[in-house]
């Protein structure tokens, strides 16, 4: 997956390049609007990450020109301003998503995956991750062949982690996806749910699958000591 990052902030573009490369993306960086527009229009990218405040040519203009040329590459806008008119303007100009600084890196990655997955969505009926198996029709999950006794919410939480196995998901994102809670809670509510899930998924089996990434969120993966 080739990604173009257009951001003049050296530190931001640097950590984005490092972080996204480690997530398996091929990352190019443009440090001003002109270069960014040229690269986005002529390079073959799967996704463009575009900052609004740019030298030479601002993000709005880059986006408008890109869409004006008929380029449909998904664009994720980054901005420190989150006034509603700004957001509306972004979507009107053809942005696909919008992230407000400061944002969690895991949140950015999750949204990028969302954008890249858009299009042919195949409704999975079963899913395997590590030694977990899901049957969505019957709302059942098994580990190592043994049935897990999960509540519907626990099933949703575990299947979310499994679908995004290897990806760190933030608490806010999890609360939004599983419970439809669309606000940033500062309590440890999600942590309690994860703890209860671990008691059913990890504790009886010895090898833990659900890991806490401190300050970021949770990830489901097999870790070999």
């Amino acid at each position: 997956m080739r990604v173009l990052v257009i951001d003049d902030e050296r530190k931001t573009s640097s950590y984005l390049k490092t972080g996204l490369s480690e997530q398996g993306f091929v990352v190019d960086v443009a440090r001003n609007g002109e270069d960014g527009l040229h690269l986005a229009a002529h390079g073959e990218y799967d996704l463009v990450i575009l900052d609004v405040m740019l030298p030479q040519r601002d993000g709005w203009s880059v986006l408008a020109n890109l869409r004006g040329e008929g380029n449909r590459t998904p664009v994720l806008m980054l901005t420190a301003r989150d006034d509603v008119p700004d957001r509306v303007k972004g979507f009107e100009l053809g942005a696909d998503d919008y992230l407000i600084k400061p944002f969690a890196f895991s949140e950015l990655v999750a949204r990028m995956h969302n954008l890249l997955r858009r299009g042919p969505v195949r409704p999975a009926t079963t899913l395997c991750a590590a030694d977990l198996e899901f049957d969505f029709g019957r709302q059942r999950a098994t580990r190592q062949g043994r049935k897990l006794d999960l509540t519907p919410m626990e099933f949703r939480l575990l299947s979310l982690l499994a679908r995004r196995a290897g990806e760190v998901l933030s608490r806010t994102y999890i609360a939004e996806q599983v419970w439809d809670m669309n606000f940033d809670s500062d309590s440890n509510v999600v942590e309690v749910h994860i703890r209860r899930l671990r008691a059913k998924v990890d504790d009886p089996f010895g090898t833990p699958l659900i890991h806490t990434v401190r300050g970021v969120g949770y990830v489901l993966e097999e870790r070999h000591a």
Binding site: P102, M153, W179, D180, F183, D186, S187, N188, R214, V216
Partner: protein, 465 residues
């Protein structure tokens, strides 16, 4: 268009009005007196001429033997009464002058009387006369006598002219005096206003505690200064809260930034194991999240103050929304050994912003959990009270002391700052709850008693779309 840049002095305007109205009054009175005098003169003159004619008529009617008397009456009258210049002439029926005051023809020929009578005319010599003409039937003569009399009114005219001049002078002097007096009065009248202006001028952001104090102000100005002082009270209060708010923000930011800085400095001071580095970075991330949340909350509150902030209302089934919240929070409640109950009528609907509603109730529930001891109970209720939606979160915590209740919805206000900071939260939760209620045109109510728990209710109008 009035000139806005240079406002005209109220004192100047008042004194002008005062002077103009005084002058108008003087002018009306003197004008009336002048006209009365004029009328008086006219009547007097008319009477005098009528008398003169009557005397001559009676003399002529007796005729013959009275000719000498008539002659004397006509010709010598002037000599006898030089102060009153009255000229007379008697014409025979066919228009031949019989008697005439000496020199009358030269000044007032008979022709002057042909056209008019009872009017004032200017003579050949430039004197002003009031003239009168009358016919008297003559015995044994088909033609009547004609009596012509004229009264010199020149001295009256002179008198009136000089009277007029004096009136003008009096008017001008009166205007000047009225202007001066009016100016004094106006200045004295608006003196308290000037004092007030001077007092207000001295009040700035640094001296908001100063108040306007006037000595013996008139009632109107006293009311004005009282109103102004009340405005200053409110301003001072708002200013105080604002400056408290700014220092609170700085303080709230200082702690996490200091933590990040300190931890990173210590971590870099010597080489450490990967685990230790991960720990430090993770901790720094947590502090960053704390700062991010604080910024987000502050921006939310700032935006909520703009009247044009959009609220995305949609029809919500309260039973569904509340059930979701309970599903989200029940694990946390169970974890703390708190019973979580909720009660909502199945068919209760309202047009509200889903995200804002979740956030408000979420904040209230997190607060309730924070202060409710293990074994306690948190209840979430929804009910329709006469078209008003009441959403109540009740806890069995320690309650809030009365002294703090009034300010509990203020930003960063904490009953016990040390304890609350330890228990997490930005101190903005309830302020956000209140602003969410207000964004929906609703309100927040708090019912609390020490030792009995706290119950906070959100009130919304149920609007049907």
């Amino acid at each position: 268009m009035p000139d806005r840049s240079v406002p005209r002095s109220l004192a100047v305007r008042l004194s002008w009005w005062y002077a103009v109205s005084s002058c108008l009054l003087i002018a009306i009175v003197t004008g009336f007196l002048y006209l009365a005098l004029l009328r008086n003169f006219d009547q007097q003159n008319e009477r005098y001429l009528a008398e003169k004619v009557a005397i001559l008529r009676s003399l002529l009617e007796q005729s013959g033997n009275q000719a000498a008397t008539v002659k004397w009456e006509v010709e010598e009258e002037l000599a006898a009464h030089p102060s009153i210049r009255v000229l007379s002439r008697v014409l025979s029926g066919d228009g031949i002058p019989l008697y005439e005051t000496t020199g009358m023809s030269a000044d007032l020929p008979a022709a002057f009387f042909r056209r008019q009578s009872g009017v004032e005319v200017r003579s050949i010599n430039g004197r002003v006369y009031r003239i009168r003409r009358e016919s008297v039937p003559a015995k044994g003569n088909p033609h009547a006598f004609e009596i012509q009399t004229a009264l010199d009114v020149g001295y009256q005219k002179d008198l009136l002219t000089s009277y007029q001049n004096q009136l003008w002078i009096a008017l001008a002097v009166g205007f000047g005096i009225a202007l001066l007096v009016g100016h004094r009065i106006a200045h004295r009248g608006i003196e308290p206003v000037k004092q007030m202006a001077a007092a207000v001028k001295g009040i700035g952001s640094q001296t908001l505690n100063e108040r306007i104090r006037l000595v013996n102000p008139p009632a109107e100005v006293a009311a004005l200064s009282e109103t102004f002082n009340q405005t200053l009270d409110r301003l001072q209060d708002a200013f105080g809260r604002l400056s408290q708010f700014s220092s609170d923000i700085a303080h709230e930011l200082r702690t996490p930034v200091n933590n990040i800085r300190g931890e990173l400095e210590v971590a870099l001071a010597r080489s450490r194991t990967t685990i230790q580095y991960q720990d430090v970075i993770g901790s720094a991330l947590e502090e960053c999240q704390r700062v991010s949340r604080l910024i987000e909350s502050l921006l939310f509150l700032a935006r909520a103050e703009h009247p044009e902030t959009a609220v995305h209302r949609e029809p919500l089934h309260l039973s569904i929304e509340l059930a979701k919240l309970v599903l989200f929070y029940e694990a946390a409640a169970h974890d703390r050994s708190i019973t979580l109950e909720y009660d909502v009528p199945e068919d209760l609907c309202a047009d509200l912003d889903r995200n804002l509603l979740q956030r408000a109730l979420g904040n209230l529930m997190e607060n309730a959990f924070r202060y409710t001891p293990p074994g306690g109970k948190v209840t979430l209720d929804a009910k329709n009270n006469d078209g008003r939606l009441l959403l109540t979160v009740t806890d069995t915590g320690p309650g809030i002391p009365p002294a703090h209740v009034e300010r509990i919805f203020d930003r960063f206000y904490r009953v016990d700052s040390a304890r609350s900071a330890e228990q997490g939260g930005t101190g903005l939760g309830l302020a956000i709850v209140k602003s969410i209620a207000q964004l929906h045109g609703g309100a927040v109510q708090i019912d609390t008693a020490e030792g009995r728990g706290t119950s906070i209710t959100l009130l919304f109008e149920i609007t049907k779309s």
